[in-house]
């Protein structure tokens, strides 16, 4: 398995294909429903340094606060990505993201954005909150904690060998589309509806 350092160049990202298993190290940021709406409704310059050439992780963690005011991720698996479909491609292209981590895959608009702006969709194992929290040794900073609450805040985190699978690449490939097509054919067969 390859280690992929963040921030990453466009070339590194375009070399990835569906089916690759990679481990991420470096800095990234979490963001889910509220964050995507927030990033699109206005230009958020303060977050740009954390998004540019890095990845956004669809995650609403369980967070512990230490006595010195720092934070730790107690549990941190991915949330379902498709809810961000209306926003994702625009967030990628506007902020220069190189990837998105989540679960369940995304749709045609995002796939097009990945190709256009040079990014990938990385699938983390859903529910694997402990395995993934252990790959997040440090929480650097948080945006919008007060306003959005713990799950929806944008957490800037350091990751070490954070395991993900490439399921949508920058060349139009989508494992999710492939599996859906195959399962649809099988469903029609089981229902006697012909291909």
């Amino acid at each position: 398995m390859a280690e992929l350092k963040l921030p990453a160049s466009e070339k590194t990202i375009r070399d990835l294909s569906v089916g690759d298993f990679v481990e991420l190290s470096g800095r990234m940021i979490t963001g889910r429903d509220e964050a995507h709406k927030w990033l699109i409704e206005e230009q958020r310059d303060e977050v740009v340094p954390y998004l540019k050439d890095s990845v956004i992780y669809h995650c609403g963690p369980v967070v512990g606060e230490n006595e010195d005011g720092s934070y730790d991720f107690v549990a941190a698996g991915p949330t379902t990505s498709i809810r961000e479909e209306p926003y994702q491609a625009d967030v990628i292209c506007r902020y220069g993201l190189r990837g998105v981590i989540g679960k369940g895959g995304m749709g045609a608009k995002t796939l097009d954005g990945l190709a256009r702006c040079g990014a990938v969709y990385l699938h983390a194992v859903g529910g694997a909150a402990q395995v993934l929290a252990r790959a997040i040794p440090r929480v650097e900073k948080v945006f919008m904690l007060e306003e959005f609450g713990v799950p929806e805040a944008l957490w800037v985190i350091q990751v070490e060998r954070f395991p993900v699978m490439v399921t949508m690449d920058s060349h139009g490939g989508s494992l999710h589309d492939e599996v859906e097509e195959r399962s649809q054919a099988k469903l029609k067969e089981l229902l006697g509806q012909g291909a």
């Binding site: 379902t80 909150a129 402990q130 599996v179 229902l191």
Partner: protein, 294 residues
């Protein structure tokens, strides 16, 4: 059970167990699924990660999944026990379990978007009470995550698109469609809780109650036992696989309940439980003695 005794601490422990310790029947089903997957592909990696994660959560007494879901509990109680107090104690336990990080603060004001911060809110936790003749209190709970909740579905038969009439074949067709529609988004491999009949309220409750059943039990109604087995096999034939990566393990179990219906209605209701099928149960006897149930 003295009049002043609080059940809060017992309920906190119940929630801790649900959130951090995957039940043995679920673990076994996941291990069987892993054994059935071939090669070293993404399905294998996903299930290996899941199994490692389950061990870590138990060792660290930390949430298996960060989406600790909606706590849903069915509480049986003897004559004379105050359900109002049980409700207060369970609510207090949810708040305490949230402050101890067994639960994520998971209740959001739907209008303002503000998180209550306590894990409790309007309609959360969701409790069902039923009086019984036994002298003890029994609480059975699940933690039902949001990703899997989003892929639940309710069909009304007949359904022309699916060619589903008002019979068990129609039920089969609706359920297979639900599994297809869910793909990997409910964190496959999942457990299906199904209700045939009922109304739009009672049916969903029954689907959740079905999730309490041991994964390997047999439905006492032979025609439903047969349908459960067939849907499990056919659901897996769809090839959606762990996380929707493709593979043989799409479902771990299918559980079907039946409620009577109005002449005009024939609902088939499906709740999808993710692989992190978190459930726990406790019995509290008259003397306050606590027994953990599987």
């Amino acid at each position: 059970m003295s009049a002043t005794e609080s059940y809060t601490e017992t309920f906190v422990e119940l929630i801790r167990r649900a959130s951090t310790e995957l039940p043995a029947d679920v673990l076994e089903a996941l291990q069987e699924g892993r054994a059935g997957e071939e090669g070293g592909g993404l399905a294998c990696i996903a299930l290996d990660t899941v199994l490692t994660n389950v061990d870590m959560a138990r060792e660290d007494s930390a949430p298996i999944c960060q989406d600790t879901g909606t706590p849903v509990a069915w509480i049986h109680y003897p004559v004379g026990v105050s359900t109002r107090r049980l409700k207060e104690d369970f609510g207090a336990a949810v708040r305490e379990a949230t402050s101890r990080r067994y639960l994520r603060p998971n209740a959001v004001n739907t209008l303002t978007g503000a998180n209550t911060g306590t894990g409790a809110g309007r309609g959360i936790p969701f409790l069902h009470f039923e009086e019984w003749d036994e002298p003890r209190i029994e609480v059975r709970m699940i933690l039902k995550g949001g990703g899997s909740e989003n892929v639940g579905a309710q069909y009304k038969l007949p359904d022309g698109r699916l060619g589903a009439g008002r019979d068990l074949e129609g039920v089969r067709r609706a359920v297979l469609d639900a599994v297809f529609q869910a793909q990997g988004k409910g964190c496959a491999p999942g457990v299906l809780g199904i209700c045939i009949g009922g109304d739009r309220v009672s049916a969903f409750e029954e689907t959740k109650r079905q999730l309490l059943r041991p994964l390997k039990d047999t439905n006492p109604a032979p025609e439903l036992a047969e349908l459960e087995e067939r849907l499990l096999a056919e659901g897996n034939e769809l090839g959606i696989g762990p996380m929707g990566f493709g593979g043989k393990t799409t479902l771990l179990a299918v559980k079907i309940g039946v409620l009577d219906r109005l002449p005009a209605c024939y609902f088939v209701t499906v709740s999808y439980m993710c692989w992190a099928d978190r459930k726990a149960a406790v019995s509290i006897d008259e003397g306050g003695e606590v027994q953990w149930l599987s």
